[in-house]
């Protein structure tokens, strides 16, 4: 039978078979990526006992309830966590962008004396890690221990992001700059009204990179902030989901139901923590590929 078919027919059949498998393989991969998040959402709307009893693929909430979200919404620790996270993101990204763009502008000036030294000065810190314990002791010695500013200031510049911006600024046409100089504009003015506006894509990319890192970060908050009142929401989530320290979150729940509710509060907290990222995701999508590509260009 097969021998009866022409070469081009066989080739067509094999190409089709390849396409079908390729599409199916990618669909399966997509499913594997998405399902844990889907599970997290569905589980957060389920009742805990039904969830524990449930076996196999979870597609819809079992014994649907909003109790986990009621607990999350009425919990002062989680609300405070959100405020702390917003504070860290707003102040932190503000500082990140200010320091990064000021430095990137200066470092993109080709005639600047010491330019290559200063770049090496920054790159060296990528090669040679400052060390966890020395950083911790420094934060304690300068009196930042316990303050959100410890987290904000210890990551004021990401060298990789800085290099992305320097590279981009170097590509800004000199003619744009020269006309501004003729008009008597100083460096600050040129950066603010020429460089930043023409680099919107890079600025957006870096804001998003910094913001996502700030929002998701938990480790340095964990070591610098002993007082739970200062915790960002990621650290509150860690307490709930990893250390299973649930007592603060179950106030008002019947003792008999606590195990059940504890189970779904974990998922609900994970959902509300991830929500801001998901809302930003369309914007992230638009810019981040560009950021990755810019990063691959030599700084």
């Amino acid at each position: 039978m097969v021998a009866g078919r022409s070469l081009s027919q066989r080739r067509f059949a094999s190409a089709l078979r390849f396409d079908v498998w390729n599409y199916l393989g990618l669909a399966f991969l997509g499913f594997l990526t998405l399902y844990p998040f889907y599970y997290m959402v569905v589980a957060s709307f389920s009742s805990g006992n039904a969830l524990i009893a449930h076996q196999g693929l979870l597609l819809l909430p079992v014994d649907a309830t909003l109790i986990a979200y009621e607990r999350v919404a009425s919990n002062p620790k989680i609300a405070r966590g959100f405020l702390n996270s917003i504070y860290v993101v707003v102040a932190g990204v503000g500082i990140n962008m200010a320091v990064t763009s000021l430095a990137a502008y200066a470092l993109s000036r080709k005639h600047l004396v010491g330019r290559s030294f200063l770049l090496k000065f920054a790159v060296f810190t990528m090669v040679f890690d400052r060390g966890l314990i020395p950083l911790f002791l420094l934060v304690r010695n300068v009196g930042l221990y316990g303050s959100l500013w410890a987290v904000i200031l210890t990551f004021a510049v990401n060298t990789y992001n800085l290099l992305i911006m320097v590279t981009f600024f170097r590509g800004v046409p000199e003619s744009l700059e020269e006309s501004a100089i003729v008009d008597g504009a100083g460096h600050m003015r040129i950066l603010w009204s020429i460089f930043l506006p023409v680099s919107k894509a890079v600025v957006a990319t870096l804001i998003l990179f910094y913001a996502v890192g700030r929002w998701n970060g938990y480790f340095y908050a964990m070591i610098f902030l002993p007082n739970p009142d200062r915790w960002p929401v990621s650290l509150v989530l860690r307490e709930i989901i990893i250390s299973e320290q649930m007592n603060d979150y179950l106030g008002g729940v019947d003792v008999g139901d606590q195990g059940s509710v504890a189970e779904t509060i974990k998922y609900a907290t994970a959902v509300v923590t991830t929500l801001p990222i998901l809302l930003l995701y369309p914007f992230l999508q638009r810019y981040f590929t560009k950021g990755v590509m810019l990063g691959s260009i030599k700084g």
Binding site: I52, F121, G131, P134, F136, V157, N216, I223
Partner: protein
Amino acid sequence: MLQSGRMRRIANDRVLYLMLLPFFVYFVVFHYIPLFGNIIAFKRYSPARGIFESPWVGFSYFQQFFTSSYFWRVLRNTVVISLSTLIVGFPAPIILALMLNEVRSTAYKRIIQSVTYLPHFVSLVVVAGLIVQFSTIEGLFNDIVVALGGRRIPLLQEARLFVPIYVTSEVWQTVGWGSIIYLSALSTIDPNLYEAAVIDGAGRFRQLLAITLPSLLPTIVVLLILRTGRLLTVGHEKIILLYNPLIYETSDVITTFVYRKGLIDLNWSYSTAVGLLNSVVNGVIIVSMNALSRRVSETSLW
């Protein structure tokens, strides 16, 4: 004359140096001072006496580490975890990019890309939290184990399962994001090459071997070299969310050991010594790999 011209240029650029001031202060205070602070690895540091007053002890903390049973354990775990992640995690984004490259429907391609990039943006705490939840006795992973005819066990309490769980989750998190750079390399391949191949009668698979892979090779080589530079770098942030004393035997790496010895047990100097050793070795590997990358491709990190 030359010297004064240089001075004049510096004076003219004082606004630029002012703009660099926050950057400079940040790196001095939060990077170079801690780098200097590493000298406590050679001292018996106590917070009461401070860095300068604490007595010198030479290399005794390094010696203590080399002769302890922890040395081989954390070194072995670091290498095993790093190499396994490299072996499974390095080809994965290349394969994904090649698969995506064969998709002709742009809508389908874009959907799969959006979905596979997502884990890159989700907090480690959420990712680790899901792994922990799924690995419990009643968890999703155990439901799957039972469906495949196995028995329920607390998966994260089994030392032998840590590396597979860690590596799988790493690939899950990074495969989509990692494919971006290959996809962009693929998009620069000259379409005429494929047309010529079709005329010569080459099928899809033949085109993959003869055109696509060779075009991708320079990117693959450079990324592999740069990735190798991080061979002894396994971060602590994810592992400390996943491990527990029952599985330290396979999950405790250099960085988690530094964290625990320093910030939990408060062995400041000992922990700093181990961290410094790791930084030095990593620095040397990165510099050599970067030099190698520059030799083979003229591409490098700096």
